[in-house]
Assembly symmetry: C2
Homo-oligomer: 691 residues x 2
C-alpha cells in the first residue's frame, strides 16, 4: 500500500510544472504570473479595452471588433452556421465564399446574436444565502434557481443589458455577467471553404496547418454600423517567435476540477456513449450528403460539426484511456486529500466532498442515457430534428411563461426570452428530407436502446421509425414561422388544441422528460454544486496559489509564447507556416479535396509573396469555444485569430500540459496578404489598417 | 386476447402467397413449382451441367465457367479482394482496371480459392446417430463434431476432393458436399472501379442501376488453363421481359426459419451491436482513407466491405423494427404452433422446441458481446488486425493439429488444413499504419465495454490503446511469411518460445476465448441444432409442401421472371436499363464521384450503341454471397450476372416477399458491348462467343 502511494507521488513529481495554464477571469487576471514570467503588467484600462473589444458568437465561438465601425472578425467555421443558412441550391456561399464591397451589399444573418461583456460582479454570497443549512436538495435547487433568475431580472430591468449569472468552479462561485447584445449582424466577407478548412477533417486538430479560417461580419444597431472605440487595430507585421501573446475569448467548457470518480464515469460511459451517437450521426449524414451535391450542401454544417466533435471526443477518450494520465490525475487528487485529511479543520469542512461526488456520479450514471434520449433542454437525443426542437420550445414556452419568473426552468427566465425567440422565429431553412433521415435514425436508436419502453411505443404509434419520422415531419406545420408564432401567442390552449403531430409528440414525452430533469437537478446537480464548491475551496486552501475556474463559455484571458514544439516521436514543428507551404501541401495531394486550393489562390500564385506567414502556434491555454478569439500583443493589437488546437491539446479538457500542446492561429500578416493579393478586397484592408 | 389473435391472423392472410421464393438444393430441385408456374421441366443432365459450371469464390461470392478453357466470370466486387492485394502504390488495379491480352499476361491472385461442387450426399442419419438419447449436450456436441470431421476425412481420402459436411435447416439435416478445388487462379480482366461500382455507396442496393460489375479470372491446374465441358456459353441477346431465368450461386446465409424469440434478440442486441461496430469501423477507415490517395487505396477493400455490410444491416433492422413485419412473422409461427399443439403426437415430438429456443437465445445473449470481442474463430472483435488473425491461427494450429482429427476445432479438421494454410501463408501485403489504426480502435472499443476486465488490462499492459497497438504491430515479425511458416513448422515449442508480442497476446487471450467457444458450442449451439431440427420437422409436417433450407454459402438454385416493379410510394421501375441511362445519370451529377464514368467510357460514347441493355431485374430469391452468380435461361446459356438486390430485399434475410423485391444483374448483351466497343477486348469476346 505504501509502495503504491509512493510510486504515484513519483509520477506526480515528474509532471511538468504548470506554466502558461489557465483561462483567467478578466476580473481576476493573472497579474503575478505575467509579471514573473514575462515582465508584463497590464493596466486596468488595457484589460477593459481587450474585454470590450471581444465578442461572443451565439453560434458557439468567439470574435473581436477590428474597426471603429462594428467590423467583427471570427473564424469561417464559426460563421458557417450563418453562411449555410443563407445558402440556397443556387448560391452556395459556403463553397464559393462571399464578399460585400459596400455596406449595402452586406447580408443579415438569420439568427446570429453577438454579446460583448460589459461588467462582472461576484454574487456568490447572495446565491449561496438562498440555500440555508438543513434544506433538502430539492428546496436548495429551487431556492438557488429562483435567486439566480431574480438577480438577472433585476439587472436587466436596471441596466437594459443581457444579464447572466454564471456558475464558476462547478458551484464554488457565482458571478453576474452583463452583456451588450447585437442581433442585427451582417455578413461582410468569407473565403471559400476549401481554403478556410484546407486539409478538412484529416488536418483538423493537426499542425502544421495552412488555413485561412476567417470571416468578417458587421454589427448594426438601428440599421447603422455600430460605433465603438474598443476595437483591436490589425498589426501589419503580426507576432514573432517567442513573443508574449494573449487570447481573449470564450472557452466552452473544461473539466479540470472534476474528481477521479467523475472522470471514470466520463471515460467509461459518457464519452463512449457520446462517440457512439456521434459516429452514428456521421455515417448517417455522410450517406445523405453523398447522394447529391445539393444534399451535401444541406448537410454540410451538421456534418462539419459532427466530424469536429468526433475528433475532439476521440482525443479526450484517448487521453483518459492512457493509464499514465489517469495515474497523474489520481495522484493530484490524493495530494489534496492528504493535505485536507491532515488538517482537522479542513477535514471537517471538505473531507467528505470526494466520496459525495462518487455517490452523486453513480446516480448521474444511472439515468444518463435515458436523459440523453428524452433531453432536458430544448433538444432530445431521440429526436434529432430541428422541427422537434421548435416543437419542444413552443410546448414549454407556453407553460413556463405562465409561471412566476422565479419558478421557471432556467432557459425560460425572463432575461433569456428575447434571445430564445430570436432563435425560435428564425427564418433559416429546414429541409424535410434531411429532417426525416435524421429523425428516423434517432428514433431507431431510441428503440434499440429501450425496446420495451411503453413511451417509445407510444411515440412510434405502431409504425417503423422511418415511417413514423416521415409522418411527423411531413405532417408538421412548424416549417412556418407564422405557425410557430401563432402557437406561442395562442398560449397553452392553442398548443393543447394543436393537431400538429410534432407538437403532440413533444407534449407526449414532456412529463417524463421534465421528471428526469427535475430529479437530476435536485438530486444530482445541486448536491454536486455543493460538493464541488468544497473541492474548489479545498484546492484554494491547500495550494495557496491563484486558480482559474473551469471554462464556461464566458470571457477569459489566456496568455503564452509563440513557439514551435516537438512531437512524441520526434519531428520538430515550426512556430509558423507560410503561403508556400499551402501550395506545397496541395501539390502533394494533387490538389484533390480536402487538399484543394480554390481557383482564386491558384490564379493569384504568381503575385503572392509566398514567404508570408499564414498560420502560427502559441502555448496559450484554450479549448473549443475559443475559435475565433483574437490573438493580441502587449500593445493590444490584433496579431492573429485562433482557429484550432493540436491533437495533444484535446486532453486539455481534463488536464493541461505545455510541452507539445499548442493553440493554432491565422497570422494577421497572412490575412492582409490574402485579402489584398488574392481577393482584391481593398475596402476591407483599408478599414482594418486605417489609423 | 382473442381479438389480438384474430387481427394477427388477418395480417397473415393479407400476406402475399410465396411465389418464386426459395434457394433450392440441387439435389432437391423445385421441379413441381417450375412445372406448375413456368411449364419447365429441367432434366438431371441440365441440373448437373449448371451445378458444375457454377464456381464458389472463397473471397465470399459466386461465379461461373464461361469458356471451355477455365475462364470464370464473377463480380468486380468479388474480385476486389484479389485486385486490392495485387495493387501497389504505383499500380492501383482497383482504380485503373486490368486487362491481360494473352495467357502470359494473366496474373496469379495471392490467396484466391475456387470450389466447384461435384456431388452431394445426405449424411443426416450418420451424424444424428452419433448423438444418443440422454447424452449431455457437451457430449452430444463432441460426438457430432467428431463424426462430421470423420466423414469429411474419409471422403477426402477416398476421392481427393474437398469434403464439407454442411448443416441444413439450422440442424435439421446434414449433407456431405464434395468440391473440386482450384488454388491457381489468375486475373484476366477487370474494368475501372468507377464503372464497376458506378453510383458507389449511395446507389448500392438501389435500382435503376448502371454498373459493369464484372471481372474475369482463369482457373489453372499444373500451370495450364483448366479444361471443362461444363461451362455456360454467353447469350449474345440476353434475357427479355418476363422470361424465366435461373440463378445458380452460393447465398451466404438467411434466417427465415428463426423463431420470434431469436428474431427479437437479433433486433434488440445482435443488429444494434453489429451496426455500432460497423459504424465505428466506417468512421475509422474513412478518417484513415481521407488522409491521402495511398491511404485510400490501402483501405479501399475494407471500407467497401464495411459500407456494404452497414447498408445490409440497416435494411435488416429497418425491417425488424417494423411492427407489421414482426406481427406477420409472429402470426406465421403461431399458425405452426397451433397446428402442432392440436395434434398430440406432433405436440409431444416438437411442442417444446420454441420455448427451448427462447431459453437458449437468452443464454446466447448473455455472452454474445464478450464472445464477439474475444472471438471464437480466427478473428476477434477486440483485435481488428490481420496480423492478429495470423497470430491466432498459428497459436491454435500448433495445438489443434497435435490432437486427433475427431477432437479438433472444426476449422482445424484435416480436410480444411490445405485451404487454411493457403490463407495463412498468403503474400498479400499488410500495411503497418493501417494495422495500428484498426487495432488501436478495436482495443479502445474493448476497453470501453469492459473497463474493469483484468484480461483487458493484461493485454493493454499499462498502456493506452494506441500506444499498445503500435507496440504490437511494430514489434511483430508476422509480416514475414517465412516467420509464420517457421512458427507453424516449429510446433508448440516454437510458439511457446516466441517473443513476438502479437503471438504472446494471442496466447494470453486464448484460454478465455476457447472457454467461451466451448460453452457456446456445448450449451447453446448443439441444443439449438436439436431444437431447430424439431422446428423444421414441425414445419414440414404441418405445411405439407417442400421447403428450401436457409442459405449456408453452399450452391443453390433460384428461379424467377425478369420483370420490373413499383415502389411503395409509386414510381415504376423498368425491367432493364441501358448505356444511355448511365451517361444520363453521370451528367445529372456533373460526372462527380461516385457518379463519374471512366475516361474509356466517355471516349467510347460516339461508337456505343446507347440503347444496349446494361442492367436488369428479376424476381429470383437471392442474398449476399450470390454476388457473381450466373443468370441463365432454359437453354443453360449465360444471360447475365447477379451483382445486387434492391433495398426492400434486405429483409429477405428474415422473410421473403415478391412484389417489390428484386435481384439486380448485368445483362450479357451489355457485357459484350462494353468489352467490344469500350475496351476493345476482342480476345475475350471471341472466347466468350466461340461456338
Amino acid at each position: 500500500m505504501r509502495k503504491t502511494i509512493i510510486s504515484i507521488l513519483l509520477v506526480l513529481l515528474a509532471l511538468p510544472v504548470a506554466a502558461d495554464e489557465g483561462m483567467w477571469l478578466f476580473n481576476r487576471p493573472p497579474l503575478q504570473q505575467l509579471k514573473a514570467k514575462y515582465g508584463f503588467e497590464p493596466t486596468p484600462q488595457w484589460l477593459e479595452h481587450l474585454q470590450k473589444a471581444s465578442v461572443r458568437f451565439n453560434s458557439g465561438g468567439s470574435g473581436s471588433f477590428v474597426s471603429p465601425n462594428g467590423l467583427t472578425i471570427t473564424n469561417h467555421h464559426v460563421g458557417l452556421d450563418c453562411l449555410a443558412k443563407l445558402g440556397t441550391a443556387q448560391h452556395d456561399y459556403v463553397k464559393t465564399g462571399f464578399r460585400a464591397k459596400t455596406l449595402k451589399e452586406e447580408v443579415p444573418c438569420h439568427d446570429l446574436e453577438l454579446n460583448v461583456l460589459m461588467s462582472m460582479e461576484d454574487v456568490t454570497a447572495r446565491v449561496n444565502a438562498a440555500v440555508t443549512p438543513g434544506m433538502s436538495s430539492a428546496d436548495a435547487e429551487r431556492a438557488r434557481r429562483a435567486t439566480m433568475n431574480a438577480i438577472e431580472k433585476e439587472s436587466l430591468d436596471k441596466t437594459g443589458l443581457r444579464s447572466d449569472v454564471v456558475t464558476l468552479f462547478q458551484g464554488g462561485e457565482y458571478h453576474l455577467y452583463r452583456y451588450k447584445k447585437y442581433t442585427d449582424v451582417r455578413l461582410v466577407f468569407a473565403p471559400e471553404e476549401s481554403i478556410a478548412f484546407f486539409g478538412g477533417d484529416p488536418d483538423n486538430f493537426e499542425y502544421p496547418r495552412f488555413d485561412l479560417d476567417i470571416a468578417f461580419f458587421r454589427a448594426y444597431e438601428n440599421d447603422k454600423p455600430v460605433k465603438t472605440d474598443d476595437y483591436l487595430p490589425f498589426s501589419p507585421t503580426g507576432p514573432t517567435e517567442n513573443e508574449l501573446v494573449f487570447v481573449s475569448g470564450n472557452p466552452g467548457g473544461t473539466e479540470r476540477l472534476k474528481t477521479v470518480a467523475e472522470l471514470e464515469f466520463i471515460r467509461d460511459l459518457r464519452l463512449p456513449f457520446t462517440l457512439d451517437f456521434m459516429r452514428r450521426r456521421e455515417v448517417l449524414l455522410n450517406i445523405y450528403a453523398k447522394r447529391s451535391a445539393e444534399n451535401a450542401r444541406r448537410a454540410e454544417d451538421f456534418l462539419r460539426g459532427v466530424e469536429n466533435s468526433r475528433k475532439v471526443y476521440l482525443g479526450q477518450i484517448g487521453g483518459l484511456q492512457d493509464p499514465s494520465l489517469f495515474a497523474a490525475k489520481n495522484a493530484d487528487e490524493m495530494a489534496v486529500r492528504m493535505k485536507v485529511g491532515a488538517d482537522p479543520q479542513l477535514a471537517s469542512q471538505y473531507g467528505d466532498a470526494w466520496s459525495q461526488i462518487a455517490i452523486l456520479t453513480e446516480k448521474n450514471r444511472q439515468s444518463y442515457v435515458e436523459r440523453w434520449f428524452l433531453g432536458t433542454g430544448n433538444t432530445a437525443g431521440a429526436f434529432y430534428s430541428d422541427l422537434f426542437g421548435k416543437a419542444r420550445t413552443i410546448v414549454r414556452y407556453v407553460d413556463e411563461t405562465a409561471k412566476p419568473n422565479a419558478d421557471r426552468l432556467r432557459e425560460f427566465r425572463e432575461t433569456n426570452l428575447e434571445s430564445l425567440k430570436q432563435s425560435l422565429y428564425s427564418e433559416a431553412p429546414i429541409y424535410a428530407d434531411l429532417e426525416i433521415a435524421k429523425l428516423a435514425d434517432s428514433l431507431a436508436f431510441w428503440l434499440e436502446r429501450f425496446p420495451n419502453d411503453p413511451l417509445v411505443k407510444q411515440v412510434l404509434a405502431g409504425k417503423a421509425p422511418l415511417q413514423r419520422a416521415t409522418e411527423l415531419v411531413n405532417g408538421s406545420k412548424l416549417m412556418s414561422v407564422a405557425e410557430r408564432k401563432r402557437l406561442v401567442e395562442g398560449g397553452p390552449s392553442a398548443v393543447a388544441a394543436s393537431s400538429d403531430p410534432m407538437i403532440q409528440v413533444a407534449r407526449l414525452i414532456d412529463p417524463r422528460s421534465r421528471q428526469l430533469r427535475k430529479e437530476f437537478e435536485e438530486q444530482v446537480d445541486e448536491p454536486l454544486r455543493q460538493a464541488y464548491a468544497k473541492v474548489a475551496q479545498a484546492k484554494f486552501r491547500t495550494s495557496g496559489g491563484a486558480m482559474a475556474p473551469d471554462a464556461t463559455f464566458t470571457l477569459r484571458l489566456s496568455y503564452g509564447a509563440v513557439k514551435g514544439y516537438s512531437g512524441p516521436a520526434g519531428p520538430s514543428f515550426p512556430w509558423v507556416t507560410t503561403f508556400a507551404g499551402a501550395f506545397q501541401r496541395a501539390a502533394e495531394h494533387q490538389n484533390m479535396p480536402p487538399f484543394d486550393l480554390p481557383k482564386t489562390w491558384l490564379d493569384a500564385k504568381p503575385k503572392l509573396k509566398l514567404d508570408t506567414p499564414l498560420n502560427f502556434v502559441a502555448t496559450a491555454d484554450i479549448i473549443g469555444g475559443n475559435s475565433g478569439s483574437p490573438v493580441t500583443n502587449r500593445n493590444n493589437e490584433f496579431v492573429g485569430i485562433v482557429f484550432d488546437m493540436n491533437i495533444p491539446s484535446l486532453v486539455y479538457n481534463f488536464v493541461w500540459k505545455e510541452e507539445d500542446t499548442r493553440t493554432v492561429a491565422v497570422h494577421s500578416k497572412g490575412i492582409l496578404e490574402a485579402l489584398r493579393t488574392i481577393y482584391g478586397a481593398t475596402e476591407l484592408v483599408n478599414e482594418l489598417t486605417k489609423k
